[in-house]
Amino acid sequence: MTGATSGIGLATAEMLARRGANLIGIGRSEDRCRKTEARLAALQPQASIHYFAADLSLQSQVRAAAEKIRASLRTDGINGLDGLVNNAGTFTYWLALTAEGFETQWAVNHLAPFILTLELLPLLQAASGRVVTVSSDSHYAGRMHWDDLQLRRAYNGLHAYENTKLANVLFTREFNRRLGGRSGVKAFAVDPGLVKTEIGFKGTPALVRWVWNLRRSGGVSPEVPAGDIVSLLGEPSVLQSREVYWKGGKPKKSSRRAQDDIDALRLWVVSEKMVGINQDRQHE
């Protein structure tokens, strides 16, 4: 579980821990990681619960986190992952490029899930696991600007956010198309709805904080999408479905642009180039 120290990620982690699941959480702050780890461990003393801190805006740290996950499973004598929840997401009002030269939302919301899923694929295959990526209904407004995917030249924080959430659905779609059959791993994109989280408060200007405070007051508590995520991870029936986008335990119609197989393929190829992976070659 990424983004597992606050919001939807924390609620899901807590729900999973209560059910006795072994859990690895990734969070941005070392301090919050330690606190959450201790709290969840107290909730379920016999489960193995580990938290690692990583800044998922940096590819190097996503890869380091994957390595920590592998090492931790080896130590615990566990040889597979039943699920990966790509939950961590961010909103940045002003354009900020990471030290690696990527737009921050593109890096955290799209590239990090892309890398982490491919890094952990062998472990997921070993347990016929599932990948759940937290998208959003804001993907309906998103579109892929192929000549400026990260919106560097015409940045608008909200549009950039919407595009990354569309990328989550396209990624999930293409993952199932190219790997679903042969890997035994199935991917889902989740629409959490409007949720009372802190996403609009983290490092944003006063105006944005004010708007988000107003807007989120109509939202549901994080336990609602957490329940959806837990059911997608565990429910046997969803494995029979070919649907990509889910809300409230049921398939939901995603945007027309999210159903474009060519765009899904194109995004995959462009993303491979951005992260220096050639997935086809790895499987030859």
Partner: protein
């Protein structure tokens, strides 16, 4: 990625030198140049940040990216940088002088060392780089120079006196040099942006200016794109943002003493507000 767009803008850039390449605006220039398929030579203070950026630009955009860490306040370090850049004889066709510094605060709150650093980096460093890089220019292509001045270069600015004056120097110098070198196929473009959200302190300062901060602020990515397009057309001055162009035009109609009064009033108010919220920043 988009061949039509690339072809339209391809003007035979051989290599581009960017100073201050790992800062907010420098990074935006580096990524924008790389996305246009131009080879790069990057410099800044920290080797680890340069290496990280270079590795990812090579991987994503398949361009050649070299780098050399240097301290442009130091003449020896500048000379060493030019020597390194000359090493493999690949010529340059552009220089983007982004490296610059300010230690905000009243003149007598700044140390003599800080004042010297502003002059050494913003003025001396930029001039030395221009001289050095022109000796490495590609003889078969036009040479583009972009100097990052500032909107501050148009005004006398209390609380940022030395910085604003150093940017005024760059602005006037760029205009004059542009005229001198025009016949040699060299263009000189002065970029005069307002504050940009490049680091937490800048974002903090923009926030403290309220609505005005929101309206005058431009994102680094669009500034880099717009400036490169302007440099390719040989434009003399680039002021990103409609409101900023208006403020510059309006400011130029007023006597300097009045402008200093106005700017001083606005900056001091913003500083009071900012430090009232966050005393640690003082």
């Amino acid at each position: 990625m988009n061949n039509f767009w690339y072809a339209q803008n391809h003007t035979g850039m051989s290599r581009v030198m960017i100073t201050g390449a790992t800062g907010g605006l420098g990074k935006a220039f580096a990524v924008e140049c790389a996305s246009r398929g131009w080879n790069l030579y990057l410099t800044d203070l920290r080797p680890d940040l340069l290496e990280t950026l270079a590795v990812n630009l090579r991987q994503t955009y398949r361009v050649r990216v070299d780098w050399q860490a240097s301290d442009l306040t130091d003449p020896n370090s500048r000379a060493e940088l030019i020597r390194q850049a000359a090493e493999d004889r690949a010529p340059f066709s552009a220089l983007i002088n982004v490296a610059g510094v300010d230690f905000e605060g009243p003149f007598f709150d700044q140390s003599p060392q800080q004042i010297r650093t502003i002059i050494r980096l913003n003025v001396e460093g930029t001039l030395d780089m221009i001289r050095g890089m022109l000796s490495l220019r590609d003889p078969l292509a036009p040479f583009r120079i972009i100097n990052v001045a500032s909107l501050a270069g148009f005004y006398p600015m209390p609380v940022k006196a030395t910085y604003a004056a150093s940017k005024r120097f760059l602005l006037d110098f760029s205009l004059a040099l542009r005229n001198e070198l025009r016949a040699d196929g060299v263009t000189v473009t002065a970029l005069c942006p307002a504050g940009m959200p490049t680091n937490p302190e800048c974002i903090d300062a923009i926030d403290a200016q309220g609505l005005m901060g929101q309206l005058t602020t431009c994102n680094t990515g669009s500034v880099a794109n717009e400036t490169l397009n302007a440099a390719l057309r040989g434009k003399a001055v680039v002021i990103p943002g409609g409101l900023n162009r208006f403020l510059q035009a309006a400011g130029s109609l007023l006597p300097g003493v009045w402008v200093a009064e106005l700017v001083g009033w606005r900056w001091k108010a913003a500083r009071r507000k900012r430090f009232a919220q966050n005393p640690a920043a003082a």
